[in-house]
Each structure stands twice: as C-alpha cells, then as structure tokens.
Amino acid sequence: MSLADLTIAEAAKGLRRGAFGARELVDAVLERAAKTEAELHAYLTIDHEGAREAAARADEELASGVDRGPLHGIPVALKDNLCTEGLETTCASQILAGYHPPYDATAVRKLREAGAVPVGKTNLDEFAMGSSTENSAYGPTRNPWDTDRVPGGSSGGSAAAVAAGSALGALGSDTGGSIRQPAALCGLVGMKPTYGLVSRYGLVAFASSLDQIGPITRTVEDAILLLEAIAGHDPADATSWAGDLPDFRSELGRGVEGLRIGIVEELSGDGYEPAVSAAVDAMVSSLEAEGARVQEVSLPTFDVALSAYYLIAPAEASANLARFDGVRYGLRVPGATTEEMMARTRAEGFGPEVIRRILLGTYALSAGYYDAFYGQAHRVRTLITRDFARAYEQVDVLVSPTSPTVAFPVGARTEDPLAMYLSDICTIPSNLAGHPAISIPIGLDPAGLPIGFQVMAPALSEPLLFRVAAEVERLARFDARPEVVTP
C-alpha cells in the first residue's frame, strides 16, 4: 500500500512515529497524481515545487520539535475557487485564466498555519456551478470508480483527488451540495458546516448566503481534523460566527441509542435509484438496531426547495460575477467602448452554464419580476427553515440519501439543465437553512459505484452530526477503494 492511501489520522501518526517524512508522503501523493491525472484530471494546477518545499519545511519543523498539530505535513488539495497567493486561481473559467491572487483565502491560510501541504488546485464546475465537474473550461474530471462517469460536482476535482490518493484530504465549497454530492459519488466523507462557521474570505463567491467551505476526506475523523483547522471567527468575513465554537468531538463515541432519527419523506420515491434507496434503508435499520428511534418526518416545503434555490443562488451569482468585466484582472476581449469590451469579455469568458445562471438571476431580480421570483424564493426559504425547526422538535437529526443516484455517465445530463439540477435535490435544503450536513459512504451499487448517506442537524450541532456520522461510518464498514488505486 502506498503512503498516498493513508487517512490523514494514520499519516499524522506515521509522521510522528518517524515511519516516513512529510517529503516522502508528498512524493507518494505526487507520484499517484502522475499516474492518475491523465485519466482523471482532478487537478487544474499541481504545485510540485510549493508542495515539496512545504513538506521539507514540515519535516524540519517536526524534527526540531515544532509540531503544528495533526495536519502538519499532510498533503491536501484545494478547490480552485479558493484564492491562493501567487498560485493560479481560475474557478475553472476562461475569464480567470492566468489569474494570480495577491492573497490567501482565510481557510487556506489556516491550513498553511496548521502545517498542511497544499498539493494543488482542483477542478470544478466553472464558478462552482454544476453537479458533475463537466462545466469546467479546462475539461471534465472523471470519477476514479469509473472513468466513464462523472465524479459529481461542483467539487468533483477535490473528490476525485482524495478518492484517487492524489491528496489525503481536500477542501471544497458547498452552495447546494457541491461537497456532499461529489463525496457521495466518489465514496468519501463530505461535510458542509453551519453557515458562518468557516470564513468565506477568499472563496470566490457563487451565492454568498449559501456558500460554505468544508472538508472532503476518507473518514469522519479526517473531516473533523480539517474542520478543526479551518473553522472559527474571521474579522474579514462579517457573516462569520463570532461566538464560541462547539467542540466537534464532544459527542463522539456515544452511539445512537435513544437518539431520534427522522427520515425525510420528501427525499425518497420516484427518481431515487433502487440501489440507493435500499442502501439508505439498510443503514436506517442498522441505526435502529443500535437503539436509535427512527420515524418518518414530513418537511413539505422541501418539494419547492430546488425551485427556491434556483432563484436565490443565480440571483446572488449574477451580482457576484459582475466583477469579472475585463477591467482590473483576468480575461479582456477587446471592444471599441468600455461597454462593448465588458460585454464581449463576459460572453466569451464565461461558459454556457454560468451565462445561463447569470441570465436567470438577472431576470429573477429585474423590475417587474423581483417579487414573484427572487422575493418569493426568499420567503419560501424562511418556510423551509421553519419546516426544519418543526422537524427538530420531533427528532434530533434528519437522514436521507445524499444524491438520488450514483455517479452518472459523462455527458448524460449536460443537455438538460433541469435534470442536472435535480442531482442536488437532497442537499439543497441544508444550504437554504444554513444548517450543517454530512455525507458518509455506506456501500456500492451492483455496478460497484458508491452510495452516500446524508445526515442533517440543526445549526451549530456539528458535535451531534459527527457523532451520528461516526456511527454510520462504523456500521457501514465501507473500506472499498476505486480500481485506479488498487495495484
């Protein structure tokens, strides 16, 4: 087994035992990338030199007794919508080709301070808009479990990298499921924290009121390790939580006995693949066998969550992406006037999905339509949050599939935006409410494709979420690895 296949926790132990150095670890990861990248295209940029330097520094520090904690010397991948000082950051868009940010995103800075070794920048759907990582201006990422299939998205590059072993863990961003869905489709743990728990400073905004940065890892323990490093108040993000952070480990190991678990009625039925439903049902039964009290819970507004999301997110995006205009950075397509230059730059620099969402959002906000579309969507968002609150009076956590389907073939949904949007139907409600949610791999379908199980909890209930997730992980005993990894 290669060092590249270790979990973060295992690698941290090995580094401290002196079994190997950070330099060897990063070399193993870079070697894996060299083998897999041609086929997977998980990365847009691999920072060989930077990664080796950081690893060498970690070795020196650890040797001299400076221990920055469990991430010290751990190779991680960063989604390419996280700003990295001096390292190209494109958001998988032509409009940012060659763009080198002058600063690190807060989450990136915190990872560096924790001694982590950034390997490179991972592929995504352009500006995180998509569910398959096919909307990348630089070509799609493939699923390590089946390279004819998508890895999910938009953090598909991060998920593929971790699944393939070209990183031990990764950061993604989740606006409507963009961490959890690719994690599910790649057999990984993917977690979206409570909105405000992780600073968004330096995350190139898609939909500001929904975006959160979170971990994609092989285990729940690794997800906690990454989250511990990046969570916390940031004075540079006015929406970041300034109160006390919960101790993410405080409930670990307590099991699920007596815990009230709600199955979301609305997230099942037609459109859910039988293998997915069966795996989820089996996990629920296992939890019940462990003493959990399981009941069905109805959250009727979930039926319109997708609709609300596809008004709110594009509306915010239409403003967030207005700054890409060819004036101060990024692509410029010449024009005789400022207006023409901007309009051409944007039309040529953005891909079709981004343009579609900008148009959609602009329309939803425009005079005469605001109240019926954007305004109404925002009020519906409040109703969805109320539905959650009512559900949490009856149960402690909610569970569902993470995605209605397993990884789908490349190209299967690219011509049908609405079908693509339906990939996020289970994950979107947590974003709208700002609640934490996590996807844990629970098995493979008959074709050998991973299935994810989603756990949702109230705001700031990460300790509870991790407690349940750890139980799910233990019960699932999911230890399969994609073929690309097995020798």
Partner: protein
C-alpha cells in the same frame, strides 16, 4: 408666473474616516493613482466587505442632526449596474431601510424660515475616478479612460431631500446649510472643489395651485453653490419655455455646462436603470438601538440650529445670531467666554461679528490667533456702555487687544483713548469754542437749533475726539440757553 418650480436635492457627503467603508485602506485625497487599494475595494475575487463602525456612527450623527428617525434595524443592499469605475459592478448601498429617514432642515431665505423635509440619509460606498483621455475631456469622443480606485470604497452618505424647495435660491441655501452642518459635525471635509460633497438636483415645474408633480429632470455636475443656483434657474426657465411652447418634457438626466451656462441631456439607453436591488448577503443587519444612539448623540457637537436658539435666548438679534452661528469656532468660543465673563451678549455678538471678523480678515490673522480674551471683550463692552470709550475709540482699543497689547483699559490708557466725561475739564474747551464762533452763537439764538451739531463737532475736534459727545452737547445747550 403660472409655473411653480418643485426642487429636491440629493447630496453625497464623503466621510473623513481614517479608513474606507468596508476595508482598511486609507481615505486620503490627492495621492498617486491606485495606491490606496486592496482586494476588497478593488473587488478582487473572494474578497468580502466589513463595515466601518465609525462611519455608521457618523451617518447616525448626520441623521440625528437632520432631525431624522433612526431605523432600529437597517440593512445594506446591492445596487447593480456596470460601470468601469465601480469595481464590483454593484455598489453596496441602502434601499428600503436606510439608517435615517423622515427628518428636516430649516433654511432662512429673505427673512422667512422654512422646514425642508429630509426623506432619507443612507450609507454607501464611493466609486473610483475615471479620467477620459482625448476629446477635450468629453466622454463621447474620448480615446481611452484611465481608472484610479483610491476613492473606491470611501464612505459616502447620501442625503435626499423631499421636493420641498421652490426656487433656485432656496435650493442653494439648503445646500449651504447642509454643508455647514456636516462641516460642523466634523464628519466630512465637505469641500465642493475636491468633490467631498456633491449635489444633484431634481427639478420639475407645475401649474401654480396644483398638487401633482411635473416631469422630473435630474441635473448633475454642479461644482459650486453658484453653479447649483444657476443650473436650477436655467432648468426652470428651460422647462417653462418647453411647456409654454406647447412641448413635452422627458424624464432624463442633464449635465450642467458651467461655461455655456446651460443644462444638456446625457445619452442614456432606455431601461438601463434597473438596479436590481437585493439585500447584501455578505453583511448582517445593523441594530442602532436607543443606547447606541444616546452614546452617539452625547458625542455630537452643538448644532447650528441649537446654537442659534441659544444665541437668541441670550438676547442677540436674529441677524447677528445667524452671523455668529456661521462664525469661525474660535470666535464662537470667544463669545461664550465673554458672556461667561459677564458681557452683554448682544453687544459682544455685535463686536465679534462686525469688527472682529473684519479685523481678522483685514489683518489676515487666523481667528484662533486673535489675542482678544472673553474677559477682555467683556471689559470693552462695559467701558463702552459706561461711556468711557466712544464707539470709534473702542474700535482702536479692540485693535490693540487683538494685537495682544493688553486689557481694554490698558490699551485705552496707553493709546490715550479714554473719553473725557469730566464737565469741568470740558467746560473750558466749550467756552473757547463759543468764543471762537460768535456767528454760530448768533444763528442759534435766532432759532437755528441745528447749529449745535457744528459746535459739538468743533469741541470734539478740539478735544482730540476724546470728549464725551453727550456731555459736550449738554454743556453747549446750557451755555447758549443761559445767556
């Protein structure tokens, strides 16, 4: 005239905070281009705004000074439009819940005082600056545009009046009052020439006696109070001419051309002003509760309106009170000190706003450097009241005091300016004058009473101007009448 002008003014005030509205870049004027910029104010990908607490306190001060309601919960919105000097292509501004709303400002024109309604005062960020190259600075024929983002993100307060103004003069006075107010609060440099305070006018006309509004035209680009007044005057006449000629007005934005003295329509695309406002998701609501408001209020300086009322209550006449309200701070302090030292307020105010202001201007001395003290001014006022100094001698004394030559009495003595009130001393001079002018004495006796004035003048001259004219007058009359 059958047409009544209806005018509203929008004022943009740049706050002189140390740092910008949403980032830590310095607020400073006249620097090299693009030196005070950072990821936030340049709109770099991933950056986020964090509001400046002091700017919020200062807009609250402005709101309170304008007698506004302060919204207990206030939110920022994004105002979306594309323009090269707007880094994010949206401006963080406020829409339906501004920090302050529904206030008023009093203006006095031709002795008549009116309350002009304030619709709102809201917080926003300034844009960068565009320099249009070529084409003589005209936008349309420029060859390129240079952009400097030093100003981008400077805190900007927009104060919108109700359409309560009825003439260009009123509009100008309103603008001046508002400028004086923000300068007084110390929250803005409020310099028109540097653009730290900017005025736009909304002008329409309607038939006198009707209530509905006519077609509104917005005028921009007025860089002085004079051009504000001229532009509005021109625009009123233009609109009346169009309507009298049977034409129709279009709702539009017009630029004031200072040289030509006309307003000109700007090229705009139809429907381009759909700003698609929505709540700024990068910011959380602001709660300016009673306790915070009270803190802010306590830190505010005395405002012009309050100060005027205080002066009036001390017996200062309205015109002088107005002048004193606008006098340099050092002179207003002098007034307060003089009154504290027992001076008659009305007289002290007259001396300050009349003689002392003129003296400082004439001598080109900074008011803060003028050496007159409150006690000194009180003494001077008392000496004049006691006829120890004539009005003209007192001016000389004040000159000496202002130069730091000592107290009123010391200066009066040193310059030999004390008035002679001693009857004995004056009697001899009077006798002398009467003896020198027998013809005048004769004319008086034949009933020409006004010749007394001539004789008083002669005595004054003989005394070197120091004789108390009242005493002299009395002495002359009694002497002429007794024989």
């Amino acid at each position: 005239m059958t047409w009544e002008p209806v005018i509203g003014i929008e004022v943009h005030v740049e706050l002189r905070t140390d740092s910008k509205m949403f980032c830590g870049c310095a607020v400073s004027f006249g620097e090299e281009p693009n030196v005070n910029v950072c990821p936030v104010c340049l709109g770099l990908p991933g950056s986020l705004p964090v509001p400046n607490r002091r700017a919020i306190e200062w807009i609250t001060e402005i709101g309170l000074a304008l007698n506004c309601q302060i919204s207990p919960v206030s939110v920022f919105h994004r105002k979306n439009y594309f323009y090269a000097d707007l880094p994010k292509n949206y401006q963080i501004s406020q829409y339906d819940v501004p920090v302050a709303h529904d206030g008023w400002l009093e203006i006095t024109v031709d002795g008549e005082t009116r309350r002009i309604g304030i619709e709102r005062a809201h917080m926003e960020e300034d844009t960068g600056k565009s320099i249009h190259l070529g084409g003589g600075g005209r936008i349309h024929s420029a060859e390129a545009t240079l952009l400097d983002f030093n100003r981008a993100g400077v805190p900007l307060v927009e104060v919108v009046s109700r359409p309560d103004l009825r003439s260009a003069v009123e509009a100008r006075v309103y603008a001046q009052e508002l400028r004086a107010l923000v300068a007084e609060l110390g929250v803005s440099d409020a310099r028109l020439e540097e653009g730290s305070i900017r005025f736009d006018a909304n002008v329409s006309v309607r038939r006198r006696g009707t209530d509905e509004f006519g077609t509104k035209v917005e005028i921009k680009n007025m860089n002085s109070f004079r051009s504000l007044e001229r532009a509005i005057d021109f625009e009123i006449r233009r609109q009346v001419d169009v309507l009298d000629g049977g034409g129709e007005l279009v709702q539009e934005t017009r630029h004031w051309d200072e040289e030509a003295g006309v307003t000109r329509g700007m090229r705009t695309k139809e429907g381009s002003s759909d700003y698609r406002y929505f709540t700024e998701p990068d910011l959380v609501p602001m709660v300016i509760d009673e306790a915070w408001q009270a803190e802010i209020r306590a830190a505010m300086p005395e405002l012009p309106a309050d100060r005027r009322a205080r002066y009036l209550s001390l017996g200062v006449d309205p015109q002088t009170a107005g002048a004193l309200v606008g006098a340099p701070p050092a002179f207003r302090r002098l007034f307060d000190e003089a009154v504290d030292a027992g001076a008659d307020a009305k007289a002290a105010a007259n001396w300050i706003t009349g003689e002392l202001v003129a003296w400082a201007r004439r001598e080109e001395v900074d008011p803060a450097e003028v050496a007159v003290t409150g006690a000194g001014l009180a003494e001077l006022v008392a000496m004049v009241a006691a006829a120890e100094l004539s009005a003209s001698a007192a001016k000389d004394v004040l000159d000496g005091m202002a130069r730091g030559e000592g107290s009123a009495r010391e200066v009066a003595e040193r310059r030999d300016l004390l008035q002679i009130t001693d009857r004995g001393a004056l009697e001899a001079v009077v006798d002398e004058v009467l003896a020198e002018h027998p013809d005048a004495v004769e004319r008086y006796r034949s009933g020409e009473a006004k010749v007394v004035g001539f004789l008083v003048g002669q005595v004054m001259r003989a005394s070197g101007g120091k004789a108390d004219p009242r005493v002299v007058n009395e002495l002359i009359r009694s002497k002429l009448d007794e024989t």
